[in-house]
Amino acid sequence: MKIKIGAGILAFFALVAIFGPLFIGADPAATSDAGLQPPSAEHWLGTTQTGQDVLVQLVYGARVSLGVGVLSAVIATVLAVAVGLVGGYIGGAVDEVLSVLTNIFLVLPALPLIIVLAGYLPQRGVTSVAVVIAVTGWAWGARVLRAQTLSVRRRDFVQAARASGEGPLRIVFFEILPVLLPVIATSFLATVVSAILAEAGLSFLGLADLSTVSWGSMLYFAQNGQALLIGAWWWFIPPGLCIALIGTGLALVNFGIDEIANPRLRTIKVPRKARAS
């Protein structure tokens, strides 16, 4: 159920991000003299101060925000899998070094580090922002994956595969990796959320490329234009809401996966009789 709702939300935004711009066609940055129009038949979500259509921006923003989220999550996950699985499986000095590295990145406060790094970024394009977020965000996944690898490595089926003569690469990728897929998926989704949030935070601080329309940059402009102070709620609310919705969708899917792995977590309807005890 959770997975369904979550996946529904995600699918919706994914469709919007992929096909929305084709449908809408309009240029999200296109300005007009009709500034600060409240929602109307013409502008479903009103316009910004410079007369840009909020809905159009929202649709294009989905592409950037989701794109940054997914891109940095992909990078972070690849890093996490590499570090976590390799460290966990090989063990020894390599593992020591990798896990100290992981822990360091884990403990260092990410957002300040992102801000500092972004502050220096020569290019603030979508990709570089995604890379910065990924670089600061892979550690959690690596740590979880390492712990899991350590436990899976000791599991009998890995031992059995070793005993029957499988090589280490094959064991890592064919025996261990599939078992860890749910964990990888969870950490991937969690990274998407935090990446989207981080991108929004960066844009909001004006540290991302503001000439690209993203939900974060929309919020930046809304805040800059004092949208709330002048009552332009339609400018301020939708981007934040979309971020929260996507986050909720991802979290729901994640909880769903958790619940499959650990059925105890499921919410249940307690029959009256049992509740009495």
Partner: protein, 522 residues
């Protein structure tokens, strides 16, 4: 009514006149720094309100100079020496008399500590000729630097500063100045200036207390909306809704032009180097629309010469005084006929924190698309933009050029060949890299004379080059922000009486404004 607002409930010391709550620059907190030669950390008001300059230059009326601590100046040695005759009976706020020693000390200090010498005055030495006469010697002709010497170098008291080992790091926490105010209270969130009772202009100022609460850009908007601030210099996104609130008589604002925002074409670019392309670009851009949408009508379209109007008429050749931009798509297309359309693709670099420029860039993109020029706007980090534009690593960019006491300074910074370094090296002006002998000659002519008419003539030459050769494409004036409320005090600068820059963050102009204010209703 509402006297004081959130910031005004405090201690008005002298008389009944209420304190004036001022917001000059965005700050979360203040640092205790009242050294007028510090660039950023210094608290606003130090220069002008506490430490005064020798003369006052009104940038809104180029050429209008008011004697201040100095009564007059005299150049000698072909502009390499200047002698000031000082005002008598001026006292430091601790009661000690102000003398030529203080002036000499100030300029000696600048010579000794180059990092304080932000105008890079080439000081050779000073000589006190009499208690009220001092001569300053320079290594080069410095006529054009009179503003920096007399209008932009606050004088500090020798008897206090000479005790400091390193004036560069001295924070001057208990400033002693000749100005109309002294510091009475400092905390990280608020500092307060009170009237200097022994000020040399008796009876002035009439505003007894000036309070400076710390506001960040965001907080200020709310404060303005709630009427907490009497005088602010801020960009307000929707001034009618947030500030004026239907009371244009009381909640006034005045945004006179202060500098020039230009579209910089990189002249080392093979296509942009061609005048007809620049001409076409200029013809295609609808500056009115940019001003309306991106600048919210807070400013005006620039004069094609780049000279600030009104006020700068004398610096523009007769025939061009009424020149104005007009959009002409057809003509632009005509001009571009000879050029391979594939080459008409440029990147427009803007610093992304400057949201109005980001919007302007977007409008330019839309306009140029109409004549077949493809523009890709790229918003980059401020630092990145500074470094890229400085090094000439861009196609098109938008950049502001600061105003000086006369339009010459603006044009010099925009066009002077010596400022342009080769691509790859950081320049400090002339970012488009305009190389033209005639331009440099005109600039040299201005610098070599103290005669106003000569100077105007040279500047007119520069204006003509701007209009005819389009080395850079002026867009609009950058406004000087000033919101002031008349419920407590009246006498603010206005279009009719532009006696000083109205924004509270311009010094020493803000002190001039304070000296002119009178309680409302008197």
């Amino acid at each position: 009514g509402c006297s004081g607002g959130g910031g005004g409930g405090g201690a008005a010391k002298s008389g009944d006149a209420p304190p004036l709550v001022v917001h000059a620059v965005d700050a979360g907190t203040f640092q205790e720094d009242f050294n007028p030669y510090h660039l950023e950390g210094v608290n606003f008001g130090t220069s002008g309100m506490i430490h005064e300059t020798l003369m006052f230059f009104n940038k809104l009326k180029p050429g209008e100079i008011t004697p201040w601590l100095a009564l007059e100046h005299k150049w000698s040695d072909k502009g390499k020496s200047v002698t000031f005759t000082l005002r008598q009976n001026v006292k430091w706020s601790d009661g000690k008399p102000f003398t030529a020693d203080d002036v000499a000390f100030t300029f000696d200090m600048l010579k000794k500590h180059p990092q304080l010498n932000k105008s890079a005055l080439e000081i050779e030495g000073t000589e006190v000729l009499a208690p009220d006469k001092v001569r300053i010697d320079f290594a080069a002709t410095s006529y054009a630097k009179l503003y920096d010497i007399a209008g932009n170098s606050p004088i500090v008291p020798k008897h206090i500063w000479e005790k400091e080992k390193d004036p560069a790091t001295f924070t001057n926490p208990k400033p002693v100045g000749t100005g109309p105010y002294t510091l009475s209270k400092f905390s990280a969130q608020l500092y307060e200036l009170v009237k200097n009772p022994s000020y040399w202009q008796p009876g002035k100022p009439e505003v007894p207390v000036v309070r400076f609460p710390a506001y960040t850009a965001n907080a200020l908007q709310t404060a303005l909306q709630q009427g907490e601030v009497d005088w602010a210099g801020a960009f307000v996104p929707d001034i009618d809704k947030i500030y004026v609130q239907g009371k244009p008589e009381q909640n006034k604002y005045f945004f006179p032009p202060e500098g020039l925002v230009t579209l910089l074409p990189n002249l080392t670019h093979p296509v942009l180097g061609k005048p007809e392309v620049r001409q076409a670009i200029s013809l295609a851009i609808d500056r009115e629309k940019i001003v309306r949408i991106a600048e919210r009508d807070y400013t005006k379209v620039a004069h094609p010469s780049g000279v600030t109007m009104p006020g700068g008429e004398a610096y523009v050749p007769e025939e061009y005084r009424d020149a104005a931009y007009k959009v002409d798509i057809e003509k632009a297309k005509e001009l571009l006929k000879g050029i391979d359309p594939a080459q008409l693709t440029f990147e427009l670099l803007v610093p992304s924190p400057y949201t109005d420029w980001v919007n302007a860039a977007q409008l330019i993109r839309e306009d140029l698309a109409k004549v077949g020029i493809t523009v890709e706007t790229r918003g980059v980090a401020f630092q990145d933009w500074v470094s890229k534009v400085g090094k000439g690593d861009y196609d098109l960019s938008i950049r502001g050029t600061p105003a000086g006491p006369t339009p010459y300074f603006q044009l010099r910074s925009l066009l002077y060949g010596k400022l342009a370094k080769p691509v790859g090296e950081s320049s400090t002006g002339n970012y488009e890299r305009w190389k033209d002998e005639e331009t440099d000659k005109l600039i040299a002519e201005y610098a070599a004379t103290e005669d106003l008419a000569e100077q105007q003539k040279a500047t007119q030459g520069l204006a003509k080059i701007m209009i005819e050769k389009l080395p850079a494409l002026p867009l609009f004036y950058s406004p000087s922000w000033a919101q002031f409320r008349t419920n407590k005090y009246v006498g603010w600068p206005s279009e009719q009486d532009p006696y000083a820059m109205p924004s509270p963050y311009t010094s020493p102009d803000a002190a001039m404004v304070l000296l002119r204010l009178k309680p409302a209703g008197t």
